[in-house]
Symmetry: C2
């Protein structure tokens, strides 16, 4: 079906994206958004801040005649901001100062100068080059200082934005709203099936067993979850194929969501619907679970906070974990994880409390308690439940798995 | 100078990387590692799991005759794992089952089956396709189940690994160690200058004022920091240019590090050197500061933990913030941030305690206390210092800035 969908290419420029100084996020963001709107992203090219390379990347992407080309980065005030010049070269036009763009830049520099108590007349000449656009293009209003660029070549709509993620995202969403009004995006359905507790190897055969020629399917794994994603044109016989495939997955694997909601969504919804609160007690995760529970707007409705009990003294003093229990079983044990959760519940008055204690590594592992061993506990009105896990990967991976396991435990306790 | 350096291209495959299901990390990881080893990464192409597209991306990357081509993803057991087949097409050879690779797969499947109590004879046929390699290539020992692929075309060394980040990273590092033994990497110096508290606009002119034709320079911004990076061939007159440029930056901007260390490094080193401990009290960041302080191995030497006081009740009960102070000034205030820090220091016995309280948004802003307003406080043996900030962007951005501001405050208090 993908032949009938609009196609998009993405080009991101910036040396900092290629030498690992900066985690590239704009490509993932715009790809996810385009995908949800029924546009197939066929390539994302990240290139150095180099006039030849960036021009070649634009030409390469335009050569495939996509319906949309989104460009991020290289619209700033420094010598390695080359996007306007390279886009002009790729389009075979010259650069010229655009009066509308110049007005936008002036407004924004005035705002920055006032806010930071700087001299406008000193800053403005530095920022002025941001008003140079390829001839025939129009400026996109800035979210920061630099305006974006809107252009066209043949069938391709071209939009370029600065690379600062907040600016890129804000400006793309405003463009997308305009494209939606024009009817640019197709009627596409996406179904996401989420599975927890089995390996990809066990899910793949379920996928292959069902007819799916009208579906675009994808499978991926992370944090102990296997996610299957179906995309298809709404209102065709594909609907029936999708329903059958979701049913087969649900029958054959521990599916916890088939309506798109993540474990974070399910936990947030269950807490809010029940008028319940949650608190945390974190050892090896050091605050990561709290950070994830408080990541979404409005989480103060159900998340109270808790205790980061990285040191054993804090487990004893703020969570009332008995010193004798720590001495007998060690901090990474079923007993201590359970006591941490119960202690956090008592200390905060929350309806539920989650605890995590584990060996995140790379040091501190023993034959009995290897790196990757994590206990998660959930203390609620009915009981305190503890689950043991042994997770792969490095320190960040083990911590991430621990957070995810704690959320899944809470999801099950709230459902039970 | 970049002409003389080895060049690398990177190709990453996976639909999940293009529709935003998964944050791509392998490209950033290998790019950073190659850059630190003196290899210039000229492009990273991310492509869909599509035989034509992936083959075209490999051909495009090979056409530039780079010294190195690193491929990530598409080496697994499912129908969208196409890397071996596409690489064979791009190299103009056929696929064949490699006996060494088959042995590796068998070993790893046996290990998985034992660990998960599954039936080896059921799993092995599903995994067997992972032993199919392009003719003339050799397997790279797996970090997970799937072996990698090592091949050559003309001047280009080609290495393909599975896309699971832990496997990709482990296998690349093992390849890189082998390449280092062969003398593949040049003698390159990298200097990183980090600046906190001014805008990119104010730093850029300092860069342009110095001779730098022997240097490769880059500048980028994030979390309130401006980072300037110089790369050059060691032991040439470039050394002098680099030294002069670092001196000019240090004279003209608030440079806090010119030896590569991050604010996280500086804080960790100062705490460890002084035999000091730190604790946290987090409101709007919900645990993110603790997560960052505990992200590195061995952080238990100085990080004790603390309190996530998302709800006001927890600020009062666990941090002894007076109810009257909360009522008079509100939770997001200089007074409460200071009291939170002092309270966390008292509750944990840490030498220093950091507090963060702010309006992360998108809701909850008022004209007096807009979204983005964050107070960070540091309570130490000498005093409690509070700093007010107003940060841009969305909820995640404001939280991230708040964490960064807190670390910079601690850095300054430890230095003072």
């Amino acid at each position: 079906m993908s032949g009938a969908l609009p196609r998009a290419a993405v080009v991101l420029s910036g040396n900092e994206l290629l030498d690992g100084r900066t985690q590239e996020t704009n490509g993932a963001f715009v790809s996810a958004d385009l995908s949800a709107r029924g546009v197939k992203v066929t390539s994302v090219v990240t290139v150095a801040d180099d006039e030849e390379r960036l021009t070649a990347a634009l030409e390469y992407s335009l050569a495939a005649a996509p319906d949309l080309l989104v460009v991020g980065g290289g619209l700033g005030t420094t010598h390695d901001d080359l996007t306007a010049a390279c886009l002009a070269r790729a389009l075979g036009v010259s650069l010229r100062e655009d009066p509308t763009a110049l007005g936008m830049v002036e407004d924004r520099v005035r705002w920055v100068a006032e806010r930071r108590h700087l001299d406008f007349d000193e800053l403005f000449p530095l920022a002025r080059r941001q008003a140079l656009l390829p001839a025939g293009s129009t400026p996109v209003p800035p979210a920061g200082v630099a305006p974006g660029i809107a252009a066209r070549r043949g069938p391709t709509r071209i939009f370029a934005y600065p690379g600062v993620p907040y600016e890129f995202e804000t400006m793309w969403l405003s463009t997308a709203a305009r494209l939606a009004d024009e009817g640019f995006f197709p009627e596409v359905a996406v179904r996401i099936v989420r599975i927890f507790g089995v390996a990809e190897l066990q899910v793949a055969p379920l996928l292959n067993a069902e007819a799916q020629d009208l579906l675009e399917t994808g499978i991926n794994v992370g944090r102990g979850e296997v996610t299957v994603r179906l995309r298809y044109r709404r209102g065709t016989p594909a609907d029936a194929q999708a329903t059958a495939l979701v049913a087969a997955l649900t029958a054959g694997a521990p599916v916890f969501s088939s309506d798109g909601r993540t474990v974070d969504d399910l936990v947030a919804d269950a807490l809010r619907d029940g008028g319940l609160t949650v608190a945390v007690a974190e050892s090896c995760t050091g605050g990561l679970l709290g950070a994830r529970l408080s990541a979404r707007p409005g989480s103060s409705d159900y998340f109270l906070g808790g205790v980061i009990s990285y040191a054993n003294e804090i487990k004893m003093e703020l969570l009332d974990v008995p010193a004798g229990m720590l001495a007998q079983y060690g901090a990474v044990s079923e007993e201590v994880a359970g006591a941490m959760a119960a202690g956090a519940r008592a200390a905060t008055g929350a309806d539920y409390a989650l605890a995590v204690s584990g060996v995140a590594g790379p040091d501190g592992g023993t034959p009995d308690k290897p790196v990757g061993l994590v206990y998660v506990a959930c203390s609620g009105p009915r009981r305190t439940k503890v689950v043991r896990g042994l997770y792969p990967g490095d320190r960040a991976s083990v911590r991430d798995y621990g957070v995810s396991a704690a959320l899944h435990l809470l999801r099950r306790e709230l459902a039970g």
